[in-house]
Symmetry: D2
Subunit: 303 residues, 4 copies
Amino acid sequence: MENLAFLGLGRMGRAMAANLLAAGHSVTVWNRTRQRCDELVGKGARAAESPAEAVQSADAILYSLPDERAIGEVVFGWAGVLEGVRAGQLAIDLSTVHPDVSRRQKEAYTAEGVDFLDAPVFGSQPEAAAGGLWIVVGGDRAAYDRAAPIFRPLSVSTHYMGCTGQGAAMGLIGSLIVALQIQALGEGLVLARKAGLNLDEVLEVLALPDFRSPIFSGMGPGIVRRDFQAVFSLEHLHKDVDQVARLAEQLLVPVPASAAVREQVKAAVANGWGAENASALVKLLERQANVVLGEERRGPVGD
Amino acid sequence: MENLAFLGLGRMGRAMAANLLAAGHSVTVWNRTRQRCDELVGKGARAAESPAEAVQSADAILYSLPDERAIGEVVFGWAGVLEGVRAGQLAIDLSTVHPDVSRRQKEAYTAEGVDFLDAPVFGSQPEAAAGGLWIVVGGDRAAYDRAAPIFRPLSVSTHYMGCTGQGAAMGLIGSLIVALQIQALGEGLVLARKAGLNLDEVLEVLALPDFRSPIFSGMGPGIVRRDFQAVFSLEHLHKDVDQVARLAEQLLVPVPASAAVREQVKAAVANGWGAENASALVKLLERQANVVLGEERRGPVGD
Amino acid sequence: MENLAFLGLGRMGRAMAANLLAAGHSVTVWNRTRQRCDELVGKGARAAESPAEAVQSADAILYSLPDERAIGEVVFGWAGVLEGVRAGQLAIDLSTVHPDVSRRQKEAYTAEGVDFLDAPVFGSQPEAAAGGLWIVVGGDRAAYDRAAPIFRPLSVSTHYMGCTGQGAAMGLIGSLIVALQIQALGEGLVLARKAGLNLDEVLEVLALPDFRSPIFSGMGPGIVRRDFQAVFSLEHLHKDVDQVARLAEQLLVPVPASAAVREQVKAAVANGWGAENASALVKLLERQANVVLGEERRGPVGD
Amino acid sequence: MENLAFLGLGRMGRAMAANLLAAGHSVTVWNRTRQRCDELVGKGARAAESPAEAVQSADAILYSLPDERAIGEVVFGWAGVLEGVRAGQLAIDLSTVHPDVSRRQKEAYTAEGVDFLDAPVFGSQPEAAAGGLWIVVGGDRAAYDRAAPIFRPLSVSTHYMGCTGQGAAMGLIGSLIVALQIQALGEGLVLARKAGLNLDEVLEVLALPDFRSPIFSGMGPGIVRRDFQAVFSLEHLHKDVDQVARLAEQLLVPVPASAAVREQVKAAVANGWGAENASALVKLLERQANVVLGEERRGPVGD
């Protein structure tokens, strides 16, 4: 069992840190707002005053942060991770960020003799809580192997993608696919609604092996019931598709469907739905089509 | 067991007719080019000279035709189905067409005292051969119930969607989703390729529960191996997305991502890939990004 | 001076018929709702009871109709033009329709010994009233030459584009460009608004020779003043972009930007703005961006 | 007459510096590759060894640089502008960049007591050579007034847009509109070509007042003659549309048509046409539609 530092205790981070504790690791936690540490302290974690302090005696350092800016502060900032590290440690970035951010971290850690892995996770809070995430990892193979016992209580599956940044790239490609699935579901449901179909029946058909996607089964019923409580927030999706766009730009890859979806996500956030579930993307389609899903019992619409 | 007529013996039609024969039905077949009947005659079918002749003594009439024009000829044309029908029969259109085409047929059949179901199928030739299709059906509930023993040897699942045209609408919504899945796979793979990822590894990740889609697992390996032999042809997808666009236009439903995909499908067909598998859609993305998937062992590309 | 029949007295038709009368032609008019003939009768026109009657003694027959369906009724329908024509006449379709509609008419007229021109017009009601339209014409060159004295009081410029359908094709290409210009103006203005720019100043810049487009100068001020009274209605634009899409589909021409605009136009119509001016397309962008143009004096928005 | 420093002697910069010299200003020039200074030295300019040296004795400092990175080096870098400035000077950035880049400069200059204007120019090399540019300016009104005699020999028109960054924003909005105009021209021409129209005739129609745009008249003939020599390069357009996308993202403005165009521009650059004229964007449409504009005399295509 190892000494771990875990930084960033959002929905995902808290669940992961709890699983690491439960697996017998010794965990020091830190979060920008201190209260979020309390629950974990109650489970045996130690709370640190700063990232630098948190990492000092750790064998491995993990963090799950919302975006590049947060990584800038927590890793590179004042009293940040880099001020506390020492040679021989292993740093693991579990955030979904642009590969360039991974490469900048790799460079900084290497100068300190610290190993680094970019290791974004797939799955939402429920999977995190159940230790059922999927982790895609970039970095040195040896560091990946060293991380195996740490990943084990977090995930049902880990994939080694290649050198630094390639875990991050895979993370963004996953986001691209999720975004397109949500949009596909939305376009299909709005079309179905205006064609007079029963949406529960439609969702049953979309659960057939020919279409089946965890997005459809995971988000479809909520859309029809008008339940947009965030499991994976639209804001989060927005941030991800923006990074996908940046990566596609950098690599000169045209992504016409993703580009169309990105404009929708942006508009949905502009309309104030960022804190709702990513499935709230369909609200924009509803507005554009002047129809509301999930109210079909109230009679015909728009004619 | 019933007397059936089966018209239209393409890849899908032949497989379905064979399953109906194997289930013990008596089947009269017709196809525009006569030779395609021979194999089924060898299995016990009777071949007719025209649609009108084929349907004369049938209890139920089934057809699987490529598009609206073919239905125009086979059903409404000279020596077509409508010239041979008599009251009490049941006609089942297994093609994927616009709901308006279903409604026009319904009207014509009703005038002859014939029941009608629009019943597009999901699945490709392998599923058709294995009796493993999914059928979504519109029309009178009684006619749907009457068709049950006919659908049984063809399918693993049938769904009653509502009145005439709603089976067809569900069929098109399915096509919309398939088209977006293929495009999502293509955009993801091209991005992955230019990011230097190993595509076999990427396909493994896309097989995780968070993404898993039959399109990804069904088409991904073929793309990477450059196998574009048609199971479901790009031309077919093209025809379907055009009908989706027509339906969305008619119902005033904006479908921005589908619209972007449609332009890609159109361009892929304009480039002469229509007879290849629908997965050949990614060739256009490859051209746009100036990269070829599936050749990654040959070294870096474009830089 | 000739005997003319003019069918279809919408905003454009009335203005054109009046100009033909003013130029000294003898004009028989017809419109589905009879009252619209009165004003022209007051100016010396004769009113007919049906298209067939209107065209009987005409040398040339002109019509300006909203869409394919109207042409179906007025030209091909009961008591329609084709029932009244005789050999040697010239028929001129001034509507913006798909080239196939032109070709179908050409065939029918040829069977009757009647010449035919497809001759869509560019310009809105004010240009029509001032005899300042632009006409793009397809058909036989000889028929085009014969039509010159008829076009003269209507237009400042006529262009011979080639055989039947090529006038219509040019008409649709014009519509494509107009639609993209309107969308460009909208995207630019919404971006400008959110960037805090003064929109009157922006419109001045867009009037510079580098950007200058009659769409910008014609529609920009109205948008900022919130004046969406129809000169050229959004519904009309919607019908046109749908025909553009059909033509592009038929010719296998990918039009990604036009396709994106089409979805916007569709959504704007679905939101009930079809009877407003085509510039009301920007209302959709405003909604998507959650901002209103033309209210900038009320203080900052969305932040 | 003033002492001016002019940094960045690309196509545009050389022409502008020459006009400032011709107007009687005393000009010190600098360029990363020294040879480009020679021509201007021949016209009376003085060449400096570094940006810092060039600006030392200037009243006003102008620069026209390709992108943010160049501004980073020339302004903020080693021996850069900021190392040579002194209080009371005026710095004018003539580049097309993101407003954030303007704001960062403003802040740095203010700390040195230097005035700053963001002043992107519209027009290409010919307009620059003729002193016929349009300049859109952000910054303090007093600084704008002070710059008037400097702008005069460069431009036919200057517009004061508001505070720092608003000139830059207007510059990007102009780019958005230019990009959409080019794409509209391309989509129209490819459609026209496949519809069998004569493209010279089409360009004449597009020169009518209803459509007329300097883009159509400026780029149309070159496209048809296959002349893609850069006046305004595709690479330049690419850089601009990427900044437009960033600005739209930041301000949460959905720009669906621009987003579609951006993917096209990206693909055109990925295909290696970046150094050609921006009109080479149509080559991508040609490929997608499998047709070549400007070869219409060689007979039918693609069928």
